[in-house]
Symmetry: C2
Subunit: 201 residues, 2 copies
DNA sequence: CCTACCGATCGGTAGG
DNA sequence: CCTACCGATCGGTAGG
């Protein structure tokens, strides 16, 4: 049945995304993926013609999961600083609840693909750039509405927020430091001159 | 001759470190490494008993290269804020001159090893923790000497500096943005309330 | 979606 | 440090 095929495909991609956050998009193996799903290796090829096609499709579903978990919730609050803070908080929540077992799919793959060449790298690159673009838009709104000083450069602000996100990842995933996400929430608030909900400075 | 053996071993490890920053410590292959050196695969096993031993030895030389490039230069300036800024600047220089082809060895491997288990992950983890520890010591000195407010938490400051380093990496390596390192230097200076050498805020 | 199979490459060893 | 080789596993295909 058609619906079954699509459900299977979705299950494969979700599992692939999970595995990729631990082993990398390249370290991910078709046999390993099949085994994790209790299927045969050739069952994977019934859904994808090559490993590269599988990788590309995996990035696509991962970006949907990311948007749903991190971007979408923040769209309910006002553009500008509020949305920026909401989006960072949503990211920290998404990281904390381990939506993917190895942390954030795009943090892991962005660093894995650093100097690679080819469609998989470009796809990861574009997904990451899209997220940075959303942050940037809101940084511009924040400056435009006078929520931030007119001398504040959106590019620099986005760079800094990205840094907090990345530091949160390394401290919580690699080092398993439980307080990393609290520190991250606190740093974001202080950067905007807000009194944190996460306790004293 | 003994000296030849050691020179070969050093050449193997240097090449391995280079490859690991592009393909990852796990994606690195013995055959690929041998080919890059114009040697045979079993020539590698004359120097290392297993891939894991090779990985561990590679991390060791990478940490020496890192210390020489990033930590050592900063030891010539006063502990505290000055040394913190010098160390960050040294990191940005080391990244800019592409000491390793894929960026910083420890940024790349720290994210690759995120949720792995075993001696290789632990080794990367300890190297990263050592660097964070050096930053932390200087953050404590800075607070102790009154260069920073007494309410400033060293852990939080180190978290932030780590974020700047990571953001510099992603923006310059993945996205190839040439101005990333200038932004990074600027952000570090502003964080300490210093007037940047890298132009206006 | 499976069994059965392909050539290529993996990490690693024997023997020199 | 090499040639020659090992079993295991890789990505991928044939045929059903």
């Amino acid at each position: 049945m058609r619906a079954d095929g699509q459900r299977t495909r979705a299950a494969i991609l979700r599992q692939a995304a999970d595995l990729a956050t631990v082993k990398g998009l390249d370290g991910l193996t078709i046999s390993e993926l099949a085994a994790a799903l209790g299927m045969s290796k050739s069952g994977m090829y019934a859904h994808f013609e090559s490993k590269e096609a599988l990788q590309l499709a995996t990035i696509d579903v991962a970006s949907r999961i990311f948007d749903e978990a991190v971007v979408a919730p923040a769209l309910h609050v006002e553009p500008g600083i509020d949305r920026l803070v909401a989006m960072c908080d949503a990211f920290f929540d998404y990281l904390q609840r381990r939506t993917f077992p190895g942390g954030c799919f795009f943090v892991v793959t962005a660093l894995e693909m650093g100097e690679r060449i080819g469609p998989v790298k470009e796809c990861v690159q574009h997904c990451h750039a899209d997220f940075v673009g959303v942050l940037r838009q809101n940084a511009e709104v924040a400056v435009g509405r006078g929520q931030l000083s007119a001398t504040e450069k959106p590019d620099v602000l986005v760079f800094e927020l990205n840094g907090v996100i990345l530091a949160a990842h390394v401290h919580s995933v690699l080092h398993g430091k439980a307080d990393a996400l609290d520190i991250a929430r606190q740093v974001v608030r202080r950067r905007f001159g807000l009194t944190g909900t996460s306790g004293l400075v």
